[in-house]
Symmetry: C2
Subunit: 263 residues, 2 copies
Protein backbone atom coordinates (compact mmCIF):
# COMPACT_ATOMS: atom_id res chain seq x y z
CA UNK A 1 0.00 0.00 0.00
CA UNK A 2 1.26 3.49 -0.87
CA UNK A 3 2.17 5.87 1.98
CA UNK A 4 0.74 9.40 1.57
CA UNK A 5 2.07 12.49 3.39
CA UNK A 6 1.96 16.28 3.19
CA UNK A 7 4.52 17.53 0.68
CA UNK A 8 6.44 19.09 -0.90
CA UNK A 9 9.69 17.15 -0.62
CA UNK A 10 11.72 18.00 2.46
CA UNK A 11 8.85 18.40 4.94
CA UNK A 12 9.14 16.67 8.31
CA UNK A 13 6.25 14.43 7.15
CA UNK A 14 8.37 13.36 4.17
CA UNK A 15 11.32 12.70 6.48
CA UNK A 16 9.32 10.57 8.91
CA UNK A 17 7.69 8.52 6.11
CA UNK A 18 11.09 7.66 4.64
CA UNK A 19 12.43 6.81 8.11
CA UNK A 20 9.47 4.47 8.79
CA UNK A 21 9.26 2.68 5.46
CA UNK A 22 12.54 3.24 3.64
CA UNK A 23 10.52 4.13 0.53
CA UNK A 24 9.55 7.42 -1.12
CA UNK A 25 5.99 8.40 -0.11
CA UNK A 26 3.31 10.00 -2.25
CA UNK A 27 3.53 13.77 -1.60
CA UNK A 28 0.18 15.59 -1.45
CA UNK A 29 -0.58 19.36 -1.33
CA UNK A 30 -2.67 19.37 1.88
CA UNK A 31 -3.26 17.30 5.01
CA UNK A 32 -6.93 16.98 3.94
CA UNK A 33 -5.83 15.26 0.72
CA UNK A 34 -3.97 12.67 2.83
CA UNK A 35 -7.18 12.00 4.79
CA UNK A 36 -9.23 11.62 1.57
CA UNK A 37 -6.94 8.85 0.25
CA UNK A 38 -6.79 7.11 3.65
CA UNK A 39 -10.59 7.16 3.99
CA UNK A 40 -10.95 5.54 0.55
CA UNK A 41 -8.47 2.83 1.54
CA UNK A 42 -6.17 3.92 -1.29
CA UNK A 43 -3.24 4.89 0.94
CA UNK A 44 -1.86 4.74 4.46
CA UNK A 45 -1.53 8.33 5.68
CA UNK A 46 1.10 9.73 8.03
CA UNK A 47 0.22 13.16 9.44
CA UNK A 48 1.61 15.39 12.23
CA UNK A 49 -0.80 15.76 15.18
CA UNK A 50 1.11 17.77 17.78
CA UNK A 51 4.44 19.46 18.39
CA UNK A 52 5.99 19.90 21.84
CA UNK A 53 6.46 23.64 21.23
CA UNK A 54 3.61 24.71 18.94
CA UNK A 55 0.82 22.41 20.18
CA UNK A 56 -1.90 20.68 18.17
CA UNK A 57 -1.92 20.64 14.36
CA UNK A 58 -5.32 22.09 13.38
CA UNK A 59 -5.74 20.54 9.91
CA UNK A 60 -5.03 17.03 11.31
CA UNK A 61 -7.46 17.43 14.22
CA UNK A 62 -10.10 18.72 11.80
CA UNK A 63 -9.33 15.86 9.38
CA UNK A 64 -10.00 13.38 12.20
CA UNK A 65 -13.37 15.07 12.78
CA UNK A 66 -14.35 15.09 9.11
CA UNK A 67 -13.07 11.82 7.61
CA UNK A 68 -13.93 8.27 8.56
CA UNK A 69 -10.46 6.90 9.37
CA UNK A 70 -8.81 5.00 12.22
CA UNK A 71 -5.49 5.69 13.93
CA UNK A 72 -3.24 2.64 13.54
CA UNK A 73 0.03 3.90 15.01
CA UNK A 74 1.96 6.85 16.37
CA UNK A 75 5.61 7.88 16.20
CA UNK A 76 7.80 10.67 17.47
CA UNK A 77 10.31 12.67 15.41
CA UNK A 78 12.90 14.87 17.15
CA UNK A 79 12.77 18.21 15.33
CA UNK A 80 15.98 20.00 14.43
CA UNK A 81 16.10 23.20 12.40
CA UNK A 82 19.19 24.30 10.51
CA UNK A 83 20.19 27.45 8.67
CA UNK A 84 21.07 26.68 5.03
CA UNK A 85 22.71 29.09 2.61
CA UNK A 86 25.19 29.34 -0.25
CA UNK A 87 27.13 32.05 1.65
CA UNK A 88 28.72 32.06 5.12
CA UNK A 89 26.76 33.23 8.16
CA UNK A 90 28.66 36.57 8.15
CA UNK A 91 27.49 37.28 4.60
CA UNK A 92 23.81 36.37 5.05
CA UNK A 93 21.55 39.41 4.64
CA UNK A 94 18.15 37.89 5.46
CA UNK A 95 16.45 34.68 6.55
CA UNK A 96 13.45 32.93 4.97
CA UNK A 97 11.35 31.03 7.49
CA UNK A 98 7.87 29.59 7.94
CA UNK A 99 6.12 31.40 10.87
CA UNK A 100 6.04 28.17 12.93
CA UNK A 101 9.75 27.58 12.30
CA UNK A 102 10.36 31.20 13.36
CA UNK A 103 8.40 30.57 16.57
CA UNK A 104 10.39 27.41 17.33
CA UNK A 105 13.74 29.16 16.66
CA UNK A 106 12.93 32.62 18.04
CA UNK A 107 15.89 32.76 20.44
CA UNK A 108 18.49 31.93 17.75
CA UNK A 109 16.80 34.41 15.38
CA UNK A 110 16.95 37.15 18.04
CA UNK A 111 20.68 36.50 18.47
CA UNK A 112 21.33 36.55 14.70
CA UNK A 113 19.48 39.88 14.46
CA UNK A 114 18.80 39.57 10.70
CA UNK A 115 15.56 40.46 8.88
CA UNK A 116 13.22 37.45 8.76
CA UNK A 117 10.88 37.03 5.78
CA UNK A 118 7.95 34.67 6.38
CA UNK A 119 7.08 32.02 3.79
CA UNK A 120 4.19 29.59 3.38
CA UNK A 121 6.25 26.41 4.04
CA UNK A 122 9.76 25.17 4.78
CA UNK A 123 10.01 24.05 1.16
CA UNK A 124 9.13 27.61 0.04
CA UNK A 125 11.95 28.89 2.31
CA UNK A 126 14.39 26.50 0.60
CA UNK A 127 13.29 27.58 -2.90
CA UNK A 128 13.65 31.26 -1.92
CA UNK A 129 17.19 30.62 -0.66
CA UNK A 130 18.03 28.94 -3.97
CA UNK A 131 16.88 32.08 -5.84
CA UNK A 132 18.37 34.69 -3.50
CA UNK A 133 21.94 33.54 -2.83
CA UNK A 134 22.59 36.22 -0.15
CA UNK A 135 19.77 34.81 1.98
CA UNK A 136 19.51 31.78 4.27
CA UNK A 137 16.59 29.38 4.82
CA UNK A 138 15.60 28.01 8.23
CA UNK A 139 14.76 24.40 7.29
CA UNK A 140 15.33 20.80 8.36
CA UNK A 141 18.55 18.95 7.66
CA UNK A 142 16.59 16.65 5.32
CA UNK A 143 15.24 19.64 3.36
CA UNK A 144 18.72 21.20 3.09
CA UNK A 145 20.02 17.90 1.70
CA UNK A 146 17.07 17.52 -0.67
CA UNK A 147 17.39 21.06 -2.06
CA UNK A 148 21.21 20.81 -2.04
CA UNK A 149 21.80 23.93 0.07
CA UNK A 150 24.83 23.87 2.41
CA UNK A 151 24.07 23.89 6.15
CA UNK A 152 25.80 26.83 7.89
CA UNK A 153 24.25 26.52 11.40
CA UNK A 154 22.65 23.56 13.20
CA UNK A 155 20.19 23.15 16.09
CA UNK A 156 18.50 26.53 15.80
CA UNK A 157 15.53 25.30 17.88
CA UNK A 158 14.83 26.93 21.28
CA UNK A 159 14.14 23.62 22.94
CA UNK A 160 16.40 20.58 22.84
CA UNK A 161 13.31 18.41 23.42
CA UNK A 162 11.49 19.78 20.35
CA UNK A 163 9.52 16.78 19.06
CA UNK A 164 6.63 16.23 16.67
CA UNK A 165 4.19 13.39 17.16
CA UNK A 166 2.82 11.79 13.96
CA UNK A 167 -0.10 9.40 13.58
CA UNK A 168 -0.66 6.71 10.99
CA UNK A 169 -4.21 6.82 9.58
CA UNK A 170 -5.98 4.04 7.67
CA UNK A 171 -9.44 3.01 6.57
CA UNK A 172 -9.49 0.05 8.97
CA UNK A 173 -8.43 -0.05 12.61
CA UNK A 174 -5.41 -1.75 14.15
CA UNK A 175 -6.04 -5.25 15.47
CA UNK A 176 -2.62 -6.26 16.83
CA UNK A 177 -2.05 -7.11 20.49
CA UNK A 178 0.64 -4.49 21.11
CA UNK A 179 -1.58 -1.36 21.20
CA UNK A 180 -0.45 1.08 23.89
CA UNK A 181 -2.73 4.07 23.38
CA UNK A 182 -6.35 4.77 22.36
CA UNK A 183 -7.93 7.94 20.97
CA UNK A 184 -11.53 9.16 20.97
CA UNK A 185 -13.41 12.31 19.97
CA UNK A 186 -16.18 13.47 22.27
CA UNK A 187 -18.76 15.93 20.96
CA UNK A 188 -20.99 16.86 23.90
CA UNK A 189 -23.46 18.81 21.63
CA UNK A 190 -24.42 21.01 24.61
CA UNK A 191 -22.64 23.04 27.26
CA UNK A 192 -23.55 22.59 30.91
CA UNK A 193 -21.53 23.40 34.06
CA UNK A 194 -19.38 20.46 35.09
CA UNK A 195 -19.72 18.71 31.75
CA UNK A 196 -16.03 18.19 31.05
CA UNK A 197 -15.50 17.08 34.64
CA UNK A 198 -18.25 14.48 34.16
CA UNK A 199 -16.67 13.30 30.87
CA UNK A 200 -13.37 12.69 32.64
CA UNK A 201 -14.90 10.79 35.58
CA UNK A 202 -14.94 7.33 33.92
CA UNK A 203 -11.16 7.65 33.40
CA UNK A 204 -10.38 9.16 36.81
CA UNK A 205 -12.37 6.47 38.65
CA UNK A 206 -10.35 3.73 36.95
CA UNK A 207 -7.04 5.57 37.39
CA UNK A 208 -6.49 5.44 33.62
CA UNK A 209 -3.68 7.71 32.52
CA UNK A 210 -5.12 10.36 30.21
CA UNK A 211 -2.09 11.35 28.15
CA UNK A 212 -3.71 14.23 26.33
CA UNK A 213 -6.83 16.36 26.06
CA UNK A 214 -7.29 18.84 23.23
CA UNK A 215 -10.31 21.04 22.65
CA UNK A 216 -11.29 21.98 19.10
CA UNK A 217 -14.06 24.27 17.86
CA UNK A 218 -17.26 22.31 17.20
CA UNK A 219 -18.16 24.37 14.13
CA UNK A 220 -21.40 25.41 15.87
CA UNK A 221 -20.15 28.89 16.80
CA UNK A 222 -17.58 30.34 19.17
CA UNK A 223 -17.52 28.88 22.69
CA UNK A 224 -18.69 25.42 21.57
CA UNK A 225 -16.06 22.65 21.61
CA UNK A 226 -15.31 19.02 20.90
CA UNK A 227 -12.65 17.15 22.86
CA UNK A 228 -9.94 14.76 21.70
CA UNK A 229 -8.77 12.36 24.41
CA UNK A 230 -5.75 10.03 24.30
CA UNK A 231 -5.37 7.43 27.03
CA UNK A 232 -3.56 4.18 27.79
CA UNK A 233 -4.92 1.03 26.13
CA UNK A 234 -6.26 -1.93 28.09
CA UNK A 235 -9.37 -3.63 29.48
CA UNK A 236 -10.06 -0.72 31.85
CA UNK A 237 -10.01 1.68 28.90
CA UNK A 238 -12.71 -0.36 27.14
CA UNK A 239 -14.80 -0.18 30.30
CA UNK A 240 -14.41 3.59 30.50
CA UNK A 241 -15.41 4.04 26.85
CA UNK A 242 -18.50 1.89 27.31
CA UNK A 243 -19.54 3.97 30.32
CA UNK A 244 -18.98 7.24 28.43
CA UNK A 245 -21.00 6.02 25.45
CA UNK A 246 -24.10 5.93 27.64
CA UNK A 247 -24.05 9.71 28.05
CA UNK A 248 -22.37 11.36 25.03
CA UNK A 249 -21.71 10.69 21.34
CA UNK A 250 -18.19 9.29 20.95
CA UNK A 251 -16.10 8.53 17.90
CA UNK A 252 -13.44 5.89 18.43
CA UNK A 253 -10.22 6.04 16.44
CA UNK A 254 -9.09 2.72 17.88
CA UNK A 255 -6.07 1.61 19.90
CA UNK A 256 -2.63 1.50 18.35
CA UNK A 257 1.09 0.79 18.92
CA UNK A 258 4.09 3.10 18.97
CA UNK A 259 6.11 2.85 15.74
CA UNK A 260 9.86 3.21 15.89
CA UNK A 261 11.52 5.85 13.75
CA UNK A 262 15.15 5.16 13.00
CA UNK A 263 17.00 8.28 11.90
CA UNK B 1 -2.66 55.20 26.25
CA UNK B 2 -1.70 53.86 22.84
CA UNK B 3 -3.41 50.70 21.54
CA UNK B 4 -1.01 48.12 20.05
CA UNK B 5 -2.04 45.30 17.69
CA UNK B 6 -0.55 42.86 15.21
CA UNK B 7 -0.07 44.55 11.83
CA UNK B 8 0.28 45.19 9.01
CA UNK B 9 -2.69 47.41 8.16
CA UNK B 10 -5.80 45.49 7.20
CA UNK B 11 -5.48 42.61 9.68
CA UNK B 12 -8.56 41.66 11.70
CA UNK B 13 -6.65 42.94 14.77
CA UNK B 14 -6.37 46.34 13.08
CA UNK B 15 -10.08 46.26 12.25
CA UNK B 16 -11.17 45.40 15.80
CA UNK B 17 -8.91 48.07 17.37
CA UNK B 18 -10.41 50.78 15.14
CA UNK B 19 -13.93 49.51 15.90
CA UNK B 20 -13.27 49.61 19.67
CA UNK B 21 -11.48 52.95 19.95
CA UNK B 22 -12.20 54.90 16.76
CA UNK B 23 -8.46 55.67 16.55
CA UNK B 24 -5.60 54.22 14.51
CA UNK B 25 -3.63 51.69 16.61
CA UNK B 26 0.12 51.11 16.69
CA UNK B 27 0.82 48.24 14.26
CA UNK B 28 3.53 45.77 15.38
CA UNK B 29 5.21 42.92 13.45
CA UNK B 30 4.40 40.08 15.89
CA UNK B 31 1.95 39.19 18.66
CA UNK B 32 4.96 38.87 21.02
CA UNK B 33 5.82 42.53 20.37
CA UNK B 34 2.30 43.50 21.50
CA UNK B 35 2.83 41.56 24.76
CA UNK B 36 6.22 43.24 25.35
CA UNK B 37 4.69 46.76 25.22
CA UNK B 38 1.67 45.73 27.34
CA UNK B 39 3.94 44.18 30.00
CA UNK B 40 5.97 47.41 30.23
CA UNK B 41 2.76 49.42 30.64
CA UNK B 42 3.56 51.33 27.45
CA UNK B 43 0.48 50.20 25.52
CA UNK B 44 -2.87 48.45 25.81
CA UNK B 45 -2.68 45.37 23.60
CA UNK B 46 -5.52 43.76 21.65
CA UNK B 47 -4.75 40.23 20.43
CA UNK B 48 -6.78 37.36 18.91
CA UNK B 49 -7.09 34.36 21.24
CA UNK B 50 -9.43 31.93 19.45
CA UNK B 51 -11.43 31.53 16.27
CA UNK B 52 -14.62 29.50 16.01
CA UNK B 53 -13.25 27.55 13.02
CA UNK B 54 -9.49 27.38 13.54
CA UNK B 55 -9.29 27.17 17.34
CA UNK B 56 -6.75 28.73 19.71
CA UNK B 57 -4.16 31.25 18.52
CA UNK B 58 -0.79 29.76 19.57
CA UNK B 59 1.32 32.96 19.78
CA UNK B 60 -1.29 34.62 22.04
CA UNK B 61 -1.55 31.60 24.36
CA UNK B 62 2.25 31.43 24.53
CA UNK B 63 2.42 35.21 25.14
CA UNK B 64 0.09 34.79 28.12
CA UNK B 65 2.46 32.11 29.49
CA UNK B 66 5.59 34.18 28.97
CA UNK B 67 4.67 37.80 29.76
CA UNK B 68 3.37 39.28 33.00
CA UNK B 69 0.11 40.84 31.81
CA UNK B 70 -3.55 40.80 32.84
CA UNK B 71 -6.63 40.33 30.68
CA UNK B 72 -8.87 43.38 31.03
CA UNK B 73 -11.56 42.70 28.45
CA UNK B 74 -12.74 40.46 25.62
CA UNK B 75 -14.64 41.13 22.41
CA UNK B 76 -15.97 39.16 19.46
CA UNK B 77 -15.52 40.04 15.79
CA UNK B 78 -17.64 38.31 13.11
CA UNK B 79 -15.18 37.22 10.43
CA UNK B 80 -16.02 37.70 6.76
CA UNK B 81 -13.62 36.93 3.94
CA UNK B 82 -13.95 38.47 0.49
CA UNK B 83 -12.27 37.91 -2.84
CA UNK B 84 -10.63 41.11 -4.09
CA UNK B 85 -9.21 41.65 -7.57
CA UNK B 86 -8.77 44.22 -10.34
CA UNK B 87 -10.40 41.80 -12.82
CA UNK B 88 -13.78 40.04 -12.82
CA UNK B 89 -14.18 36.57 -11.31
CA UNK B 90 -14.29 35.00 -14.82
CA UNK B 91 -10.84 36.47 -15.59
CA UNK B 92 -9.09 35.54 -12.34
CA UNK B 93 -6.30 33.00 -12.94
CA UNK B 94 -5.16 32.33 -9.33
CA UNK B 95 -5.92 33.18 -5.71
CA UNK B 96 -3.51 34.39 -3.03
CA UNK B 97 -4.52 33.30 0.47
CA UNK B 98 -3.05 32.78 3.92
CA UNK B 99 -3.30 29.05 4.85
CA UNK B 100 -5.75 29.84 7.69
CA UNK B 101 -7.93 31.90 5.34
CA UNK B 102 -7.80 28.98 2.88
CA UNK B 103 -8.95 26.63 5.67
CA UNK B 104 -11.84 28.92 6.62
CA UNK B 105 -12.96 29.32 2.98
CA UNK B 106 -12.18 25.82 1.71
CA UNK B 107 -15.69 25.14 0.33
CA UNK B 108 -15.82 28.34 -1.76
CA UNK B 109 -12.26 27.67 -2.97
CA UNK B 110 -13.24 24.14 -4.03
CA UNK B 111 -16.17 25.55 -6.03
CA UNK B 112 -13.99 28.21 -7.70
CA UNK B 113 -11.49 25.51 -8.70
CA UNK B 114 -8.59 27.96 -9.22
CA UNK B 115 -4.95 27.48 -8.19
CA UNK B 116 -4.39 28.78 -4.63
CA UNK B 117 -1.00 30.24 -3.70
CA UNK B 118 -0.31 30.42 0.03
CA UNK B 119 1.12 33.62 1.53
CA UNK B 120 2.44 34.55 4.97
CA UNK B 121 -0.43 36.95 5.88
CA UNK B 122 -3.64 38.48 4.53
CA UNK B 123 -1.71 41.71 3.94
CA UNK B 124 0.83 39.76 1.85
CA UNK B 125 -2.10 38.35 -0.19
CA UNK B 126 -3.33 41.92 -0.83
CA UNK B 127 0.13 43.11 -1.91
CA UNK B 128 0.51 40.12 -4.25
CA UNK B 129 -2.88 40.92 -5.86
CA UNK B 130 -1.73 44.51 -6.39
CA UNK B 131 1.35 43.23 -8.25
CA UNK B 132 -0.32 40.46 -10.25
CA UNK B 133 -3.47 41.98 -11.74
CA UNK B 134 -4.79 38.65 -13.07
CA UNK B 135 -4.91 37.25 -9.53
CA UNK B 136 -7.34 37.68 -6.63
CA UNK B 137 -6.66 37.95 -2.90
CA UNK B 138 -8.80 36.27 -0.22
CA UNK B 139 -8.84 39.02 2.42
CA UNK B 140 -11.17 40.93 4.75
CA UNK B 141 -13.42 43.73 3.54
CA UNK B 142 -11.35 46.15 5.64
CA UNK B 143 -8.12 44.98 3.98
CA UNK B 144 -9.65 45.28 0.50
CA UNK B 145 -10.68 48.85 1.33
CA UNK B 146 -7.27 49.69 2.83
CA UNK B 147 -5.32 48.32 -0.15
CA UNK B 148 -7.91 49.77 -2.61
CA UNK B 149 -8.64 46.47 -4.37
CA UNK B 150 -12.22 46.01 -5.67
CA UNK B 151 -14.28 43.28 -3.97
CA UNK B 152 -15.58 40.74 -6.51
CA UNK B 153 -17.07 38.11 -4.14
CA UNK B 154 -18.27 38.37 -0.54
CA UNK B 155 -18.79 35.91 2.34
CA UNK B 156 -16.34 33.25 1.19
CA UNK B 157 -16.25 31.71 4.68
CA UNK B 158 -17.55 28.15 5.18
CA UNK B 159 -19.36 29.04 8.39
CA UNK B 160 -21.80 31.92 8.79
CA UNK B 161 -20.96 31.94 12.51
CA UNK B 162 -17.21 32.42 11.88
CA UNK B 163 -16.09 34.62 14.78
CA UNK B 164 -12.78 35.58 16.34
CA UNK B 165 -12.49 36.33 20.05
CA UNK B 166 -9.98 39.03 21.01
CA UNK B 167 -8.63 39.88 24.46
CA UNK B 168 -7.40 43.23 25.79
CA UNK B 169 -4.10 42.86 27.68
CA UNK B 170 -2.61 45.40 30.09
CA UNK B 171 0.04 45.65 32.79
CA UNK B 172 -2.57 46.02 35.55
CA UNK B 173 -5.78 44.05 36.04
CA UNK B 174 -9.36 45.20 35.61
CA UNK B 175 -11.05 46.47 38.78
CA UNK B 176 -14.55 47.41 37.57
CA UNK B 177 -17.69 45.74 38.89
CA UNK B 178 -18.95 44.49 35.52
CA UNK B 179 -16.51 41.59 34.99
CA UNK B 180 -18.23 38.56 33.48
CA UNK B 181 -15.39 36.12 32.89
CA UNK B 182 -12.11 35.10 34.56
CA UNK B 183 -9.06 33.34 33.09
CA UNK B 184 -6.31 31.31 34.74
CA UNK B 185 -3.35 29.23 33.62
CA UNK B 186 -2.71 25.99 35.48
CA UNK B 187 0.70 24.34 35.20
CA UNK B 188 0.47 21.01 37.04
CA UNK B 189 4.27 20.36 36.69
CA UNK B 190 3.61 16.62 36.85
CA UNK B 191 1.35 14.09 35.16
CA UNK B 192 -0.71 11.66 37.24
CA UNK B 193 -3.88 9.73 36.32
CA UNK B 194 -6.98 11.77 37.14
CA UNK B 195 -5.06 15.05 37.45
CA UNK B 196 -7.18 17.09 35.05
CA UNK B 197 -10.34 15.65 36.57
CA UNK B 198 -9.11 16.78 40.00
CA UNK B 199 -8.30 20.25 38.67
CA UNK B 200 -11.86 20.64 37.40
CA UNK B 201 -13.51 19.44 40.63
CA UNK B 202 -13.54 22.84 42.41
CA UNK B 203 -15.52 24.25 39.47
CA UNK B 204 -17.86 21.26 39.03
CA UNK B 205 -18.70 21.16 42.76
CA UNK B 206 -19.80 24.81 42.64
CA UNK B 207 -21.63 24.41 39.30
CA UNK B 208 -19.47 27.17 37.82
CA UNK B 209 -19.77 27.33 34.05
CA UNK B 210 -16.38 26.59 32.54
CA UNK B 211 -16.59 28.33 29.18
CA UNK B 212 -13.31 27.04 27.78
CA UNK B 213 -10.38 24.73 28.41
CA UNK B 214 -7.32 24.77 26.19
CA UNK B 215 -4.21 22.66 26.61
CA UNK B 216 -0.83 24.03 25.53
CA UNK B 217 2.59 22.37 25.50
CA UNK B 218 4.44 23.04 28.76
CA UNK B 219 7.82 23.37 27.05
CA UNK B 220 9.08 20.40 29.11
CA UNK B 221 8.82 17.93 26.24
CA UNK B 222 6.04 16.24 24.30
CA UNK B 223 3.12 14.93 26.36
CA UNK B 224 3.46 17.60 29.08
CA UNK B 225 0.79 20.32 29.12
CA UNK B 226 -0.44 23.49 30.79
CA UNK B 227 -4.16 24.35 30.83
CA UNK B 228 -5.94 27.61 30.19
CA UNK B 229 -9.36 27.84 31.85
CA UNK B 230 -12.04 30.50 31.31
CA UNK B 231 -15.04 30.54 33.65
CA UNK B 232 -17.84 32.85 34.79
CA UNK B 233 -16.87 35.59 37.27
CA UNK B 234 -18.36 35.85 40.76
CA UNK B 235 -17.85 35.01 44.43
CA UNK B 236 -18.03 31.26 43.75
CA UNK B 237 -15.24 31.61 41.17
CA UNK B 238 -12.97 33.21 43.80
CA UNK B 239 -13.72 30.30 46.12
CA UNK B 240 -12.83 27.78 43.42
CA UNK B 241 -9.54 29.54 42.63
CA UNK B 242 -8.59 29.63 46.31
CA UNK B 243 -9.23 25.91 46.62
CA UNK B 244 -7.21 25.13 43.46
CA UNK B 245 -4.28 27.23 44.69
CA UNK B 246 -3.78 24.81 47.56
CA UNK B 247 -2.83 22.02 45.16
CA UNK B 248 -1.29 23.47 41.95
CA UNK B 249 0.56 26.59 40.77
CA UNK B 250 -1.94 28.98 39.16
CA UNK B 251 -1.47 32.21 37.27
CA UNK B 252 -4.46 34.52 37.39
CA UNK B 253 -5.12 36.83 34.46
CA UNK B 254 -7.98 38.50 36.35
CA UNK B 255 -11.69 38.94 35.67
CA UNK B 256 -12.93 41.20 32.91
CA UNK B 257 -15.96 42.55 31.03
CA UNK B 258 -17.17 42.00 27.48
CA UNK B 259 -16.36 44.97 25.24
CA UNK B 260 -18.77 45.91 22.48
CA UNK B 261 -17.51 46.13 18.92
CA UNK B 262 -19.58 48.29 16.62
CA UNK B 263 -18.95 47.54 12.98
Amino acid sequence: MVIAVLGPAGTFSHEVAVALTGAEPLLLPTISAVFVLAEKGEAIGIVPIENSEAGGVGPTLDGLCRYDVKITGECYLPVHHTLASFVSIEEVTEIYAHPQTHEQCSEAFDRLDLPVIHTSSNAASALKAQENRQAAAAISEAAAAYYRIPIILRNLENSTTNTTRFIRIEKNGYSGEDAVKCSVLIDPMKDVPGLLHALLSPFAERKINLSRIESRPSGRGIGSYRFFLDFEAGALAEDAINELKKTVPIREFGCYPKLLVQI
